[in-house]
Symmetry: C6
Subunit: 267 residues, 6 copies
């Protein structure tokens, strides 16, 4: 089981540039055993932040990408049938609760409601997870912490967290980093020089203004690193930007022209 | 099985501040074997009340967080396959009925209708649960009691208890505690002084007036305890309030401004 | 199997006050092997009537609370897997048909259509239940009788019995008992005196006039017994009525005021 | 297997009064191996007709009450798991095709489409049923015949047989019998005298005129037999008619008055 | 396995009257390993044509009647559990691909989309079927050929083949045969003389003009054979036409009158 | 396992004519471990391109045709039950990630959302696939590469990739090849001379202008090869075009006339 747990340890310090007081707030929430909700657009560093905090606190990190076909059993656990009969297998949430890991439920709003309800007893003073099928009330390990993320832009009438879920979490807002910070990140991650990285960030800033005016989301930091990586491998900047920044996010000819023009301004 | 039952005992007196005659009414209902329905908004203490009553009456408490993917089998029981063939396993409701526990079905309105219909024979003079798959009519233990909760604010045309279910319960209304009581609770639970707690309660009272005018629910007592806990760990009050009171419940910029202003008034 | 059957026997005479010629009509229908449908609002005594008739005729009674997730297999039976392979287990309907019990399908309209179609061959001159999975045509026992209930108030376009099902049953209408009868019932069941019981019945009569004018259903006899039971345990009448009569059936402030006023008129 | 088949034999001549040339047409269709579709309202004798023809032709009759939860496997067959591994079990359609029975799919339009498509290869010159899971192409027995029924009044846009299914059948129309015939049937089946039976038939004839004007279906012959049976057991005619003719088919007060008036005219 | 394959061989030459160059086109498509799609109304001979071609080319024919509950596993294959553990069983498509049969997916548009997507790799130059559950890429036998049918009249917005599926097939149109040809077919198949058959064909031709003006489909050749078969067994022509041509396809009184009049014109 | 992997190797160089810089861009993306998305209409060569790149890079290629009934387990893997108990079987995605193949998810937008979410951890710097049921975090092989395709023309409000998925990919646009290139392809693949191939391409170019004006998609290169293959087997050009180009893509009489006219212009 220790081997298993070690799989979830974050071995090396994940590169993370803090943008405000989020590290201190997370540490206080962790100490107060208050579950935390990370809010913000896609690709702005929420996952990286949790990895960084797990490394900083020295705790294993169990990440679950939620989806609409995920059931409560998928995260709580189930009986498996093997040669000697049935054997209980903890799901990722039960595993994290039992062994004291940080459990990160990414985009929880995508999951079916039974998944969100099942976490309730872990988020109040009970800190327990009833494994009803097994007849066990699993008391969470002292080190266990629950983190969820969601993207407010995706909130629809059909899919939103219930108030009775939301109220169980402290919330941290995330957004794209400031210019200098983002340049530093792209330089570091893509292996290009700061001038080139600066141009890419400027293109992204233009594109982010189009969010809600034809684009569903802005160009994320991750995409800039993609473009930079292609450039570092000898692809011309305009072709790299087309492939990594423009083509993936829109098929609308007008939006493509607008984005291509933004690229042409800098390269 | 005794060990199993002991897992469900409430070991220490849960902190609970009565607000009216709810303790006496519950005790009479328990004596009359009348099932009880707890009504009220999220985070106002319904779960804590049941824990308190279970402790007070010295009965084990089996809590089930209902959800829309929960089937009747999830609470009644099912056959499991193991090495020696199939073995019946009581679900939480059957377990509670058989061994004389209080069974608390939290937010029952979320469950599928078969779950709500399955409790009917336990709620009238029959006090029986037909385990049809097992071919057993389980007669409820003398001490068994059924409690359900639901939040009238969630009632929609699609999801409401059937009249034939409602009429089987006596009902108790719950709401947020009065100012002095709530200050006492926040002081006690978060470990901050009464002045700070009083400010948090005042902020919550302002926010509760916004319910139905932009907020789906008010700020609950639980959230105030969250904010207080962060403050007790050295986070500045405004940052603590943002993280624990404002960010979790709304993404609307205007509502956030209104709530931030309420925070600024007191801190 | 005899032990099993004995579980379904009604040991003591269930308290029942006839309101019209329903006992004679049921007995003739039983003798003519005509299936019977009981119609009427919730809590007016349909279930009690069937229990009474089962006791009177000296037949075991198998009751099934129908629900929308119930399948034909749930009432007909299925193969279970155990150590020696698969084993057929009669569902409640097959069990009743085989051993000559009265089978009462409560609120059949809630069940999925396959459940209602599956009873057809038991309701005409064939009196047979094809157990297709088992390859057996089960001929019903001489004593077998089928009874269903449904609440016409629930009938919607989506959920109604098919004409080809309805036409297979004789129907009996049920409603709330007359004043004197209901007072007698509440006195007997709750253990309070006739004066108090009379006041409760009067309150109910007022509330029943509000059905369709803000209330989905009137206050049932069962609810009056609840209120009386609380009073018998020392709860003040107004508090008992609030908990047992008013709070369970409406959250509308105006309706609550109207009902509270009715309570205040008598207590 | 012979024992099994014997279960499906119609032991005694079922009482049936032909209304037109339906017996001769059925016999020709049987000889031509042309599948037959019986059309008509509920309770007018379609099932009885098939039983009669099965008796007349001396063939076993396998009846399946179709419903919307029935799958192709339910009628074709499936592998069952037992102590020695898996074992194939013919469903009712495969059983009938293999052993030369008449297979009657009652209200086939209720079934899911895979059920209706699965019969296609049995209805054309192939007369085969591919048991894909078993890897067998079952060639139908010489004596096998397929009969389906449906009620055109139920036809909706959502649920109708596909043209490619309809075109595979010869069709026979059924309706209520003429006055004298119906009196004879009710007299014979309920055990009352012809005068009383005549009055019941007259009531039914009035009610049938209300079909489409407040009633979904008319009063069927089966219901008249029900009323007669109650009368034969000493119930007064008006009470018997209320229970067997009026209450089952409508809850509308005006329709009930109209039908009660029709009853009062004759009794 | 050879025995199994033999079941699918077309033993005798199926009676088929070519209407155009469809035989030559099919043979060229077969030689070019181009999948073929047969389009046309119900009962016009598509199935018979495939049987004829299979006989002509001397290849086994595996026919699958598609339906909306059919899954990819139903045609590709699945693991079965038997006494010695799990055993893979090829579905009809995999069976045909492996052993070099013609696989005919009848009314493929009825199937769920996973069924239509699963055939893609068999329809391009890969000619492979990935059996993902088994971890095998099944390369199609040299003789394998894929044929699908669909009825353009059934095409709805909800149910149509995807363009990426359609483009993988060559298509052949089918319609009802010309007068002389159809008379010849009915004479041959029903065993009546050409005069009588000619009258039946004339009736059908009138009815086919009503398609889209009250009839969903015209009267098919198969139905004429039905009517002829009844006549050959001594049923009067008008009664035979009513049973085989008119009653099956419409319940509308006006349409029935129109069709009955067409019958009366000729008989 | 090596044998297994060898099944996925592309043995011979697939014929592919580059249209722009797509080969260089793909190679850079592969080197940068950036997942790639191929966009374009059906039948324009996306699948062939991936096969070509797999051959060029000398990596095995695992192709999955996505469909709406495909679940995450279908691509990630599942436990199978065999004689010695349960055994884990990698799905195609896990197989490719473990052994360093290129995994091509064709028309991913057709799959259920859990399939698209499950690829997320493989597409960022984690390059990991959590096999939650197995309790293993599978770290992707150095050579693993993920490629997806989708057809922007199919994008609907209901079915589109989530932004958080799109942003994880670099994108390459595909379209029909230019005239000379397409002639060369058809000549090579169908085995006809360039003049004939040129006529077919010209017909296709006309038809592609009708896309959005009555045709959902243009005539693809694959269809031209089909027509050419029929011609190479002696079918007259007009008949070959009817069967391979016109009949498959439209049933609309006007569109058929327009396309037939285009055919007549050249042949």
């Amino acid at each position: 089981m220790t081997d298993m747990l070690d799989q979830y340890r974050v071995a090396e310090e994940p590169y993370y540039r803090p943008v405000a007081d989020e590290v201190a707030l997370y540490e206080a929430a962790y100490a107060a055993k208050m579950p935390v909700m990370l809010k913000g657009p896609t690709g702005c560093g929420k996952t990286r932040f949790v990895e960084h905090m797990a490394w900083r606190l020295g705790k294993p990190l169990v990440t679950v990408a939620c989806n609409e076909d995920m059931t409560a059993s998928d995260i709580v656990g189930r009986f498996l049938l093997d040669a000697e009969g049935t054997r209980w297998q903890d799901g990722p949430l039960a595993f994290a609760a039992r062994h004291g890991a940080i459990c990160y439920l990414d985009e929880i709003v995508e999951a079916r409601q039974d998944t969100t309800v099942v976490i309730h007893p872990l988020t109040d003073n009970r800190r327990a997870l009833p494994l009803e099928k097994k007849g066990e009330i699993l008391r969470a390990h002292e080190d266990f912490h629950l983190v969820i993320s969601y993207n407010p832009g995706y909130q629809s009438l059909m899919k939103d967290l219930k108030q009775s879920t939301k109220q169980r979490f402290g919330a941290l807002d995330f957004s794209y980093p400031e210019h200098a910070t983002e340049v530093e990140i792209v330089t570091h991650e893509a292996g290009i020089d700061a001038t080139e990285a600066g141009k890419l960030v400027s293109i992204a800033e233009r594109a982010r203004n189009l969010k809600g005016h034809g684009l569903d989301e802005g160009i994320s930091t991750r995409m800039l690193i993609h473009a930079g990586s292609l450039m570092a491998r000898g692809i011309e900047a305009p072709a790299a930007c087309r492939m990594a920044l423009v083509r993936p996010i829109t098929d609308d000819p007008d939006m493509r022209d607008a984005l291509d023009a933004a690229v042409a301004t800098y390269f």
